[in-house]
Homo-oligomer: 315 residues x 2
């Protein structure tokens, strides 16, 4: 089958063997996949991954037990062992033995077919388009914040960063009832949020004010410093973006103001699916471009363009 | 009166005017004071403080309303405004208008007398010696962790750092029922803890293992990195020591493992007083030396010696 294969720092379209049927796994024919910033980091060498890229997808089960066959699905990306202490505690996303689709020891979704554990599958309602469903995985990452932090209605929040994740996080916090200010560098991206009634501010017009909940989604080391400055004493700072390598940071304000920093990664699919099905979150304006699988490598280049948002891949 | 006065980076014994009676303030005759690492940082220029140093003390109220006169007391160091939103929420220790004894806009306790808000005073039981009571303030900082983090009995904890604060934190976590491993560089300091039944390890014999709760009390940037490595996925890392200036840190593991970092500063006096009164915590072995107020500047030098623990000042 055709797939976007990463080896070293080179991602190229190759003809590779398709996935083989395995117990407890489904083979899903990919209908649509999405490029995430993590994919771009992987190409730079993050995680030292070798294999088929891609972890955002929607598709149809072609091989697997009867009830799943023909079902349109999305799939969670952490393939947990199901037997360890973390799995027993419901923390399969932190299973030390996990493989991660398109990131760690498991082939990904930038291909014609992808192999996914049955326990990771979520059927999607007919009313949900592929263009919406392909956002379930990143939207789940935004919903993870609500699993970790108590977001009371009316809570004052600042979301730093108007990239794909920042735009999803801001909407999720709004759905939770928070008073959200989204800060970013791209008027056209912030407009997506202001169109939904969120308050937005260009970073150049903003200076940090003490805020109860700050979400850092800029993907830069300076973003962390600004986020600390914007967090009120005893407030919470959620770290969503991984800044590759070491950053120069001043930790003293965390102690002086007793700030709580919460690292946040993958999240629960169920609330993300529900929010999309109920139209509580709008993802369509986040689609920047789409390419065929044959041009998936060009899709990666498109996704690195300034101002780019979600680039979709159609096998 | 005699006092250890800091101006610029020079701390010297001076004859200065004593505190004047003021409404809502008590004048306390200092009987014993303790040198904290923060004092040493202040002398290096931290906070740009100018005034009388010192924030750990025990003394007797000489001037104030009738019920307080003659009472032996310790005092909380954050002088809150009592009128702002933080004060209303019981977070006076984070009052933006606060003065802080011996640290920010308020004279400290390395003097014959010190002025303290009545609301900050805590009477101490007759059974408690001055040598124990002088540890209430730093011990309260250790108890702050229990205010911020749920420490269930049996929780596995690592305390990094066998300085004064680390030794107090390890004991407090033990009192809370946690399974504590204390890691440090000084066999003689760790022996204080092993004598009380705590597990200890020399840093050279230790490598980070995933732990539910890690307390960073080393006061070094490398301490933070080690602490992150020692924190299990979804675990908690309490930052107790302020590392002056910027440190090179890798924030990615916080996100990948969804670690929660909790900055922790001053704490509640009541549980600290109680723990000392009930002999739940042993502070006597932490006394390294004592000097007269006339030699308070030499006390600072003593406190910087390798292996030094608490240096007390007797006016």
């Amino acid at each position: 089958m055709r797939a976007l294969f990463l080896e070293g720092k080179r991602a190229e379209i190759l003809d590779v063997p398709g996935p083989e049927p395995q117990p407890e796994m489904a083979i899903v024919r990919v209908e649509l996949a999405g490029i995430c910033n993590t994919d771009l980091e992987l190409v730079k060498g993050y995680m030292g991954f070798r294999g088929i890229l891609g972890h955002e997808f929607v598709g149809v089960v072609e091989d697997g037990p009867e009830p799943w066959r023909g079902v349109r699905v999305v799939g969670e990306i952490n393939f947990a062992c199901g037997r360890c202490e973390y799995c027993a505690r419901g923390l399969g996303r932190h299973c030390p033995q996990r493989r991660v689709m398109g990131i760690q020891n498991a082939d990904g979704s930038f291909a014609e077919w992808v192999s996914v554990p049955l326990q990771n599958l979520h059927a999607i309602p007919d009313t949900l388009s592929n263009e919406a469903a392909v956002f379930v995985e990143p939207l789940a990452a935004a919903f993870e914040i609500l699993e970790q932090v108590d977001v009371a209605p009316g809570l004052d929040c600042v979301v730093l960063g108007d990239g794909k994740l920042g735009l999803l996080v801001a909407q999720v916090l709004q759905v939770a009832g928070a008073r959200v200010l989204a800060v970013g560098r791209h008027p056209e991206k912030l407009a997506i949020l202001s169109g939904r009634g969120l308050e937005t501010r260009l970073a150049s017009d903003w200076s940090p004010e003490p805020t109860s909940l700050v979400v850092e989604a800029t993907g830069s080391a300076e973003g962390f410093e600004l986020a600390v400055q914007a967090t009120r004493p005893r407030g919470t700072l959620v770290l969503k973006s991984t800044v590759a390598g070491h950053a120069e940071v001043d930790l003293a304000p965390l102690v002086i103001h007793e700030i709580q920093v919460v690292g946040s990664r993958c999240g629960p699919f169920a609330p993300a699916l529900e929010a999309l099905a109920r139209n509580h979150v709008d993802v369509q304006p986040l689609i920047f471009d789409r390419v065929g699988l044959k041009q998936a490598d060009q899709g990666l280049s498109l996704a690195t363009q300034p101002g780019a948002l979600k680039v979709l891949i159609e096998p």
